[in-house]
């Protein structure tokens, strides 16, 4: 008699389409060849397959849009190489960017930005769900010179900054407008900041230029004054006064959109 494990293993292989329905005949609990409910097994395989495609499509809508008819086949290949390994449903889509990088070189030859686009889409998903509480605290106006040197920003704890080789946000914007699916994109370094808004719980996405990216990467350990100094250094050809004015505007904007969520005292 087949053991419970043998039966579950065989059914799993068939339902996950890792083995053909005929492989069930190896089970010794099947006395006659026609005893196996092949139609039922195919039905479950279809249901499970649709489920995977649904999850992948809901998490990677831009990749799905770009790939059109070949999307379904790609999802099947992904699931066969990276079967879901976690009880959290969305987590079954976690390794899709890795899959593109490691197993889809032909696809990346045509659309080299695809793996970065997938990383962008997964990051958005991750930040939507991450179990990090975000609280916004009151702040002191930067017009107070004492505050300018003794305080620095508190970053939204869900913040993640990515530097991509391709202009991912531009590609996403074009896809949103229904354009860009046939376009070729040349490499163009871009920085994207993503975080979850503490009030709407939606993920907000901000494109950063090179200087803003540097300033943001140092913001967690700097005072507002130190950031101003750094900003002047980063723009040696500019009038320092205008650089500082721009920085103050940027800081105010970051507070307004809850990328910064308060002030912190800076120790000497």
């Amino acid at each position: 008699m087949s053991s419970l494990h043998e039966i579950e293993k065989t059914l799993t292989s068939i339902w996950m389409q890792r083995q053909p329905v005929e492989s069930a005949q190896s089970l010794s609990c099947l006395l006659e060849a026609d005893q196996f409910d092949a139609d039922g097994a195919r039905l479950y395989a279809r249901l499970i397959g649709y489920g995977h495609e649904d999850v992948l499509t809901s998490i990677y809508p831009y990749c799905a849009q770009l790939l059109g008819n070949s999307w379904e086949k790609l999802v099947k290949k992904y699931v066969s190489l990276f079967p879901p390994d976690h009880f959290h449903l969305n987590s079954s889509a976690r390794r899709f960017p890795q899959f593109l990088n490691e197993h889809c070189t032909d696809l990346l030859e045509k659309r080299a930005y695809l793996a970065e686009l997938a990383d962008y889409e997964w990051l958005e998903m991750e930040l939507l769900e991450v179990d990090t509480a975000v609280s916004v605290t009151e702040r002191t106006p930067l017009s107070d010179p004492e505050a300018f040197v003794s305080l620095g920003p508190v970053l939204n704890p869900t913040l993640a900054v990515r530097t991509y080789k391709y202009p991912i946000q531009k590609i996403v914007d074009l896809l949103d407008e229904g354009k860009g699916s046939r376009k070729k994109f040349a490499p163009e370094k871009s920085h994207v900041a993503m975080y979850r808004d503490p009030f709407s719980h939606r993920v907000r996405i901000v494109e950063l230029d090179d200087n803003a990216q540097v300033l943001l990467s140092e913001a967690a350990v700097s005072s507002y004054g130190q950031l101003a100094k750094r900003c002047v250094e980063l723009n040696p050809e500019r009038n320092p006064q205008s650089s500082v004015t721009d920085l103050i505007e940027l800081i105010e904007q970051f507070h307004e959109i809850n990328l910064f969520v308060g002030d912190r005292k800076v120790g000497k």
Partner: protein, 321 residues
């Protein structure tokens, strides 16, 4: 008397509830006057923040909550997932659930999660394994646990007994409660050709703590448990049949897709309440409950179903939030 029946006596009577779904959350949370309690899918909240966390907080401030899990995978030969159990325990402690439930099925094998409720070989070996796992789950979580009868669309190899015998033996050996889904009983009776009343007579109904009521859809090959249409009369009749015989501590409507106006859902909740009240009167009056033969005959109808019907099932079973 088995320990679980003692435990059942001490459980609160929650009344008539609804599944907490993301799409219906706003209306649901405003309907305290017509809904007594909510059931939630723990996987949609365990270890998650943001909007999920906020919805959970709002729900817990207004309603008693219980969880109904997908991925405990109680029938799998894989060991219990300790990360899953510890996250589930944390959630159950937070909402102080009077009980929690999952399905009599398996969802994973050798570490692969299929994210679907998959039928088990109904064997002695499976019963032994499940009884041991249920005991460990109840010990770890420290709250009463219920198993739900699933709907299934395949004859699994290795079965040594019928569905009702399997459910009965599991519940008794594991000494756990039942979450009886009367729609699943009805759907299975149509798909696999058995008498749903006989099924109910063969399982330890007295272990029923919670009941699910839902709608289904006729597919080309099978009647599918979609949770996406109105509840049909034969399912209400099965509900009445059960409630005239035993007390359940909570009865609820599962509606996971193809949402109608919310008032339509509330009217179904009202209907369940009316049936539950009438049945309680029968129980308390000492009058004999209606016999199955007095109830309208059920019949199998077939209508074509396309791929979409099947895809919907998946949504109903797994993606509901």
């Amino acid at each position: 008397m088995p320990d679980f029946l003692d435990t059942k006596k001490r459980l609160p009577n929650l009344g008539i509830g609804l599944g907490l779904r993301r799409e219906l959350a706003t209306e649901t949370l405003e309907s305290e006057s017509r809904i007594d309690w909510l059931e939630l899918v723990p996987e949609n909240y365990m270890g998650l923040g943001g909007a999920c966390r906020e919805r959970l907080e709002s729900a817990r401030n207004k309603f008693p909550l219980v969880t109904h899990g997908i991925n405990l995978s109680i029938g799998s030969t894989d060991d219990l997932n300790s990360e899953y159990l510890s996250k589930l325990k944390k959630l159950l402690d937070l909402i102080d659930a009077p009980w929690f439930s999952d399905h009599l099925c398996f969802t994973s094998c050798d570490g692969i999660y299929m994210h679907d409720l998959l039928p088990l070989p109904r064997s002695k070996e499976a019963i032994k394994l499940i009884a041991e796992k249920v005991k460990r789950v109840q010990e770890t979580i420290g709250r009463p646990f219920l198993l739900e009868n699933i709907s299934y669309y395949m004859n699994v190899p290795g079965c040594e007994m019928n569905d009702s015998q399997f459910l009965a033996e599991v519940a008794e050996k594991a000494d756990c409660g039942l979450l009886l889904d009367v729609n699943n009983v009805y759907v299975n009776s149509l798909n696999h050709g058995f008498d749903p009343y006989q099924y109910l007579d063969q399982i330890p109904l007295e272990r029923t703590v919670q009941i699910h009521v839902a709608g289904h859809k006729q597919g080309s090959e099978y009647v599918i448990d979609t949770h996406g249409s109105a509840v049909v009369e034969p399912v209400f009749e099965l509900l009445q049949y059960v409630l005239e015989r035993v007390e359940a501590k909570g009865v609820m409507l599962e509606r996971d897709q193809n949402f109608p106006e919310f008032e339509e859902i509330l009217l179904e909740v009202d209907r369940i309440r009316a049936i539950s009240d009438a049945a309680a009167q029968v129980r308390h009056s000492g009058m004999p409950p209606r016999a199955a033969s007095a109830i309208k005959q059920f019949e199998r109808k077939a209508a074509p179903a396309g791929r979409k019907d099947l895809a919907e099932v998946k949504h109903a079973r797994v993606l509901s939030a």
